[in-house]
């Protein structure tokens, strides 16, 4: 088994939480992993990405080669397109549809979504809205993770366990909200 995942978004949107949760779930399943993160300059509202590599054999490179990612998980639609050179021809792109507009020349959202729809395997969801509907407006990243979960070869229950241990320190209420968000994302059809 191998799962090479590019996570993308804008600094401050919480892609590293997604990475940590998948990482915890991978460890529960005895998988090897490497996860490269972004620290520093671009965390201030710039574009951020993380490469997450899971495998049942030792992972060698910290970076995913071009054209080899099985999955792009993006919390922002324009950012999902920035990493297309890494996506494998049969890979999946799962993205939030709500834009994060902090630049003056942000393109029209419809044009971005049109580009995403050209990708063979794509799943576009309004994570912000879904999160709000389950009463946890700040859990959009867990909704996205849930939506991407069918394409990660890890049992869903392991992801749930990882969410529990990741948010455990913050109390049962926060854990429940995030589990609900994860499940709501999981229920979205492509």
């Amino acid at each position: 088994m191998k799962s090479d995942i590019v996570l993308s978004g804008v600094g401050g949107q919480g892609i590293l939480s997604i990475a940590s949760i998948i990482g915890l779930a991978a460890i529960e399943n005895g998988l090897y992993l490497k996860q490269s993160e972004v620290h520093g300059m671009s965390q201030r509202g710039g574009d951020v990405q993380s490469h997450l590599r899971l495998s049942d054999k030792p992972v060698i490179s910290d970076l995913i080669p071009h054209g080899k990612a099985d999955l792009i998980i993006s919390v922002e639609p324009m950012e999902s397109l920035r990493y297309l050179p890494w996506l494998a021809s049969d890979g999946w792109l799962v993205t939030n549809s709500t834009p994060y507009i902090n630049i003056p020349d942000y393109p029209p959202v419809e044009e971005i979504l049109d580009q995403i729809r050209k990708i063979r395997n794509h799943k576009i969801i309004d994570a912000d809205l879904i999160a709000k509907n389950v009463g946890s407006a700040r859990s959009g990243n867990m909704v996205i993770l849930g939506a991407a979960s069918p394409f990660i070869e890890i049992p869903f229950s392991s992801l749930e366990n990882a969410v529990k241990s990741f948010f455990g320190r913050k109390g049962q209420e926060i854990v429940n909200l995030n589990i609900k968000a994860l499940q709501a994302g999981r229920d979205q059809k492509a």
Binding site: S36, R44, P85
Partner: protein, 537 residues
């Protein structure tokens, strides 16, 4: 044994704790910051009473580490690559004095300049100082190397450099912990003259250093970090340094390549191992993260009969970091291309956080410069460098820590008025204070604006040495008290702040304007922490 998921930086930090570290020193800088941060938040380090405070800059940090080594204990100092420029003087001289307790200097390079002004290669400093260098390929190796580096340091009585790059520093993988070593006892140098570099002593010590460096080449022939992997196909041989080895092997998932490969992770280069490889191949490709250090050596000045390729002939791009795809092309494979990024994707540079005090400071500066037809300000390195981007476009320089003050002094000498510097609080105590003393001593007509957010913001909000001390530092350096002005960068104070700035821009002597408001990131974190403390009461 315990298995932990650690960043490369954290693996080095834990390796040091487990190797009996007594003192950790450094100044923040991406991608090195998390080494100190890990040790600062470690309960084990706390119970072992390991010293672990940030220093004012990299030079003071390295000197303090050398002082810890003087007492016979193990010390480590970490910095980003450009920090080693600041610490170059003690680094190079510590090779001549030698050490007492083991000393490791970690220098974290940033090829492709993700968060840096340049992509200089610290291995050159190792060679320049005649200091052994370890360059780990992965997190486990980084962990293991720390205790070996301390041992090598104590065996040769030299500092050892650990050179890492961004990808290893900021990538997580499982690391298995080894046995823990106790800290070294207090034991002063047996030769009281060891650290006295008077010429007569220095000459003797330098000649010993040169001898040691030759022995190190032999030592590294047997190093377990330099690995020769033979292959049947002798057309090509590859030398891969540090993390480049992983990018190479990634391309051969089924049992590795059929050509010979030499992995180098311990320097100085073991000549014999290299000629073993070059002797059996028609052509050699050199993969180095950073500058073509080894490639230049092998090519030499005169043409050699061996065909050498790498960064200098375009087999690998001359600049920028390596990755598996770049390396695939270099060894003659055709990497997958992936899809193209559509043209509508726009670049998204970093920007000021909403409500950042630096932004209000720049708004006031922009307006205050208008009556002077000013074309901008000298500035420095930190979050406030974002004042170079639209809509501000107000910064004309960002060179090295502290340069805003001294460039303003020089430009005032050259006739610029008003000559204005904008510098952050942590940058000011790192390297701005000495320049301000220059300005005071020649009564230079400059205005230094210290944009004080009470933290080292750019690198994640570490404590700033300047907090609460700026006015008294400036006064102590001799700035006239009536020209040390304090403003609070808030929109409601805009008119008042502009007025004060105009007054000081007009003054033909040294003035300092301290524009102080807490960083909104650290303020938010502080309030959260206080709230949770109140809740638990």
């Amino acid at each position: 044994m315990q298995k932990l998921l650690l960043l490369g930086d954290e693996a080095i930090a834990l390796g040091a704790i487990d190797a009996g570290l007594s003192g950790m020193y450094g100044y923040p800088g991406t991608p090195s910051t998390e080494i100190m941060e890990y040790i600062q938040s470690s309960e084990e380090a706390e119970s072992l009473s390991i010293h672990r405070e940030w220093s004012a800059n990299e030079k003071t940090a390295l000197e303090a580490a050398l002082g810890m080594s003087y007492t016979g204990k193990r010390a480590m100092v970490a910095m980003k690559h450009v920090g080693l420029n600041v610490a170059a003087d003690p680094f190079i001289n510590s090779a001549v004095t030698g050490i007492n307790g083991g000393l490791i200097v970690v220098s974290a390079d940033d090829p492709s300049m993700h968060s840096s002004q340049n992509e200089q290669d610290s291995r050159f400093y190792g060679k320049f100082a005649y200091v052994p260098v370890f360059e780990p390929a992965d997190q486990q190796e980084a962990y293991n190397m720390v205790s070996d580096a301390f041992e090598l340091s104590e065996k040769y009585r030299l500092p050892v450099m650990m050179r890492i790059t961004t990808r290893l520093a900021h990538s997580r993988a499982a690391v298995v912990r080894k046995q823990k070593e106790p800290q070294k006892p207090f034991r002063l140098p047996s030769d009281p003259r060891q650290f006295v570099l008077l010429p007569a002593i220095a000459r003797r010590k330098y000649s010993a250093l040169l001898t040691a460096y030759e022995s190190l080449k032999f030592e590294n022939r047997l190093s377990r970090y330099n690995i020769f992997r033979d292959g049947r196909n002798r057309k090509l041989g590859v030398i891969a340094c540090g993390i480049a080895y992983n990018y190479l092997m990634e391309n051969f998932p089924d049992g590795g390549p059929d050509f010979p490969v030499l992995k180098i992770s311990a320097y100085p280069f073991p000549n014999d191992l290299i000629s073993d490889l070059t002797g059996r191949c028609e052509e050699v490709l050199i993969l180095e993260e950073g500058y073509p250090l080894l490639e230049e050596l092998i090519r030499g000045i005169l043409d050699c009969h061996l065909k050498v390729s790498g960064r200098m002939d375009g087999a690998i791009p001359r600049a920028g970091e390596l990755d598996p795809s770049v390396v695939a092309k270099g060894v003659g494979l055709t990497p997958e291309a992936g899809l193209k990024v559509p043209d509508i994707v726009k670049s998204r540079p970093p920007s000021f956080c909403k409500g950042c005090g630096h932004a209000d400071t720049f708004n006031a500066v922009i307006e205050a410069l208008k009556p002077f037809n000013g074309t901008g300000v000298f500035s420095d390195i930190g979050c406030y460098t974002l004042g170079a981007l639209p809509p501000y476009n107000i910064i004309n320089s960002c060179v090295d820590m502290g340069a805003s003050v001294t460039m303003a002094v020089g430009a005032a000498d050259g006739g610029l008025h008003p000559s204005v510097a904008v510098i952050g609080d942590s940058t000011f105590t790192h390297s701005g204070m000495t320049g301000l003393l220059d300005a005071v001593l020649k009564n230079s007509p400059v205005t230094v604006i210290i944009s004080d957010n009470s933290t080292t913001g750019m690198t994640g909000g570490q404590k700033s040495h300047a907090t609460g001390r700026l006015a008294s530092i400036c006064e102590g350096l001799g700035v006239e008290p009536e020209h040390i002005r304090q403003i609070e960068p808030l929109r409601k104070n805009h008119e008042e702040n502009v007025r004060i700035l105009i007054e000081e821009f007009g003054y033909r002597g040294v003035s300092v304007v301290i524009s102080a408001r807490e960083c909104i990131q650290t303020a938010t974190r502080r309030k959260k922490a206080e709230a949770s403390e109140n809740n638990s009461k």
